[in-house]
Structures are given as structure tokens and as C-alpha cells.
């Protein structure tokens, strides 16, 4: 409880979200298999690929296979994917927890698909769209934000990607370097909350 309270406080204090070099807070969110997941439960990882994504968004759908491939490639290297659905299902029924379970099963997600049910985690991180990536690197026990942005530079066709931003960023961390670019942008679906309802 204290942990959740602290997390909320931090969220309110830094409403703007994370910048590169910031220490990322842990979260405790429900996975599609019913278990509660937090990053502190992971032993022997070098970091995390945190991706805010959802069921309904065409950009998210376009990247599902690529996110699975990223998890398969980097989980064994110490950078597992954690996918988080930040949307309010009252705004988008397709993004309900039940539909998350169906989507994860149908697509064969190899990674946790977590539900930000209270919509507290995405503003803490500063996610604004789906998909939106935050690459965290474990440094002296803390998780430090080292890359924020897009997965690559062609959402429509994986075979025509010329800049694999996220892969390059993870590779840079694995080699002991710093991702460059650290920030990238992509078009995506806005995150749906009640405040955005007009």
C-alpha cells in the first residue's frame, strides 16, 4: 500500500513524465494470466522494454508481431518486454481486460500484457500514445530510462524499415553504450481516458 501511495505521489509530482536519465518507478499491474507483475520480481535482468500498447489501435496491431520478435530476441539477453494497456475500457470497449486476454492468446504473446486499470502508470511514465516505448536499463540497482519513443521507422511494412530505433537502443545498452537517438517520435493513437472525453 505504501508503495502504491508513493507511486501516486510521484505521479502527481512529475506529471510531465520521464526524461532520459530519470529513475523509473516500479509498478504492480495485473497480467492477462491473472498474476500481479512488478519489475522487482524479475531476477537477473539487465533492464526492461516497457511498451504502452493496446488492442484496438491500428498502429499497435501493426507492431504486434514485431513486439513478439523483440521479446524473443532480447528476453534471453536480459531485456524482456513488458506490454501495458493504458486505455480506459469505458472509452474503448475493445481494450477491456477480457479482450486483452483474447488478444494475447490469439496473437501468442510471449510477454506479460498488463492492464493499467487505474491509469496511474502511463502518466507517471509520460506515455501519450500507443505504441510508446520506454527502455529501462538496470544501473546500480535502479532502472534508468535510456530510450523513449518509437519501435522503428515504418509502421506499415516491417520489411521496409530502415531505422530500427528500439533494437539499436537495446544493442547499444548491451554493448555498454548509450542509445543514440535517445528520443524518437511516431504517429499513434492517443491514450483514452475520461478526461479526454468531450
Amino acid at each position: 500500500m505504501i508503495f502504491i501511495f508513493l507511486m501516486m505521489m510521484t505521479g502527481f509530482t512529475f506529471a510531465g513524465g520521464y526524461e532520459l536519465g530519470d529513475k523509473a518507478d516500479d509498478f504492480l499491474l495485473k497480467n492477462v494470466d491473472g498474476t500481479m507483475i512488478s519489475m522487482s520480481k524479475y531476477q537477473d535482468v539487465k533492464g526492461f522494454i516497457v511498451i504502452f500498447t493496446c488492442n484496438h489501435c491500428p498502429y499497435s496491431k501493426a507492431y504486434e508481431d514485431r513486439i513478439i520478435a523483440l521479446d524473443k530476441k532480447y528476453k534471453s539477453e536480459g531485456f524482456p518486454v513488458l506490454a501495458i494497456n493504458p486505455n480506459d475500457p469505458e472509452m474503448v470497449p475493445e481494450d477491456s481486460f477480457e479482450n486483452m486476454k483474447i488478444n494475447a492468446k490469439e496473437k501468442g504473446f510471449t510477454f506479460p500484457y498488463l492492464f493499467d486499470a487505474d491509469q496511474k502508470v502511463y502518466p507517471l511514465y509520460g506515455a501519450t500514445r500507443t505504441p510508446h516505448v520506454f527502455l529501462l536499463n538496470k544501473e546500480e540497482g535502479d532502472l534508468i530510462v535510456r530510450y523513449i519513443g518509437a519501435i522503428d521507422n515504418n509502421h506499415t511494412d516491417a520489411s521496409k524499415v530502415t531505422e530500427s530505433y528500439l533494437e539499436d537502443a537495446v544493442d547499444a545498452l548491451l554493448e555498454g553504450g548509450t542509445p543514440d537517438p535517445g528520443y524518437t517520435k511516431a504517429i499513434g493513437c492517443s491514450i483514452k481516458n475520461k478526461a479526454s472525453k468531450k
Binding site: 491500428p58 519513443g149 521507422n153 530505433y165 511516431a186 504517429i187 499513434g188 492517443s190 468531450k198
Partner: protein, 166 residues
């Protein structure tokens, strides 16, 4: 070729032509597909017109919801110094399948462009450094004065921004 086949051919040809003529007559505007370089001058017109440029997509629910607000603005200021441009970010391969029928069905009167440049990291900051890339997004400018909104907008909001610039 038998006579029957020839007749069938012409009947089919006739049907295809009828369908295309119908589709064409419904389409009141042609929607150009453009890369960012072609589109960019529309962000930097230096004249007395107020440009209201909305980034949207047919699959984006909040975008669809606010389209009538932009249409109303466009109708209100028709032939005045306000120009509404709706820039669709539908996937490039959805031009015929989704965008054209959508614009025809809704009978959109504002000018529609289809920005098909997928390499968005190269151009999002050129639209506005404030833009994270989420849809909908709107830029309103006249000459050097401009403002950017990454949010849904109402007609009243749009009007209150446009009026002082005119």
C-alpha cells in the same frame, strides 16, 4: 470467342464503367497523396489567411468525433480568410479502401490531404516540437503566429483561436 462470351464481356464492361462513374460522381474532391516534403509548404504559408490544419485518421475515434467541428468552421468561414485542411494519416494502403469512401460518405467539404510519409520521426517535430505523435492534433497559424493542440477540439474553441487572428 463465342457470341455469348462477347455479350458477357460487354455487359461486364458496362457494369464496371457504371460503377466507376458512380464512384467518381460521389467523390466531390480529389484527395492528393503526399510525402512530407510536398505537404510541408502548407505549414508555412505567409499570407493573410488563417490556416487550420487537423491531423486525423478514419480509424481514430476522437478524430472522427471532432470532424464536424472542423466542417462547421470551414462552412462558417467559407470564402473568408480561413482555410481548413484535414490531413489524413490513414495507412498508405488504405487510400482507396477506407479514406476515399469515408470522405465521400461524410461528404466532407474541407480540403483533405493524405499524408502517406511513414517515416514520421523525420517530420513530426517539423509540424510542431510539442507534438508527441498522438492523434488527433491541430495546428492553427497565420504568418508567424501559431499554436498547436494535441487534443480534441470543439467549434467554439476553434472559433476563439481563429477569430483574433483574422
Amino acid at each position: 470467342m463465342t457470341l455469348k462470351k462477347i455479350i458477357t464481356f460487354f455487359l461486364l464492361l458496362g457494369a464496371v464503367m457504371t460503377v466507376s462513374v458512380d464512384a467518381f460522381s460521389q467523390r466531390e474532391q480529389t484527395i492528393p497523396r503526399m510525402d512530407f516534403e510536398t505537404f510541408e509548404p502548407w505549414l508555412n504559408q505567409d499570407n493573410d489567411t488563417v490556416y487550420v490544419i487537423n491531423f486525423w485518421a478514419t480509424w481514430c475515434k476522437p478524430c472522427i468525433k471532432e470532424l464536424p467541428e472542423f466542417e462547421k468552421l470551414n462552412a462558417t468561414y467559407e470564402n473568408k480568410n480561413v482555410r481548413v485542411i484535414l490531413v489524413s494519416l490513414d495507412f498508405p494502403n488504405k487510400h482507396e479502401e477506407r479514406l476515399l469512401p469515408f470522405v465521400a460518405d461524410r461528404n466532407l467539404k474541407s480540403r483533405v490531404f493524405h499524408l502517406t510519409d511513414v517515416d514520421a520521426n523525420k517530420w513530426i517535430d517539423k509540424v510542431s516540437p510539442e507534438w508527441s505523435g498522438a492523434l488527433p492534433a491541430t495546428i492553427i497559424y497565420k504568418g508567424d503566429t501559431r499554436e498547436f493542440h494535441e487534443a480534441s477540439m470543439t467549434y467554439e474553441q476553434l472559433k476563439s483561436i481563429v477569430e483574433p487572428k483574422r
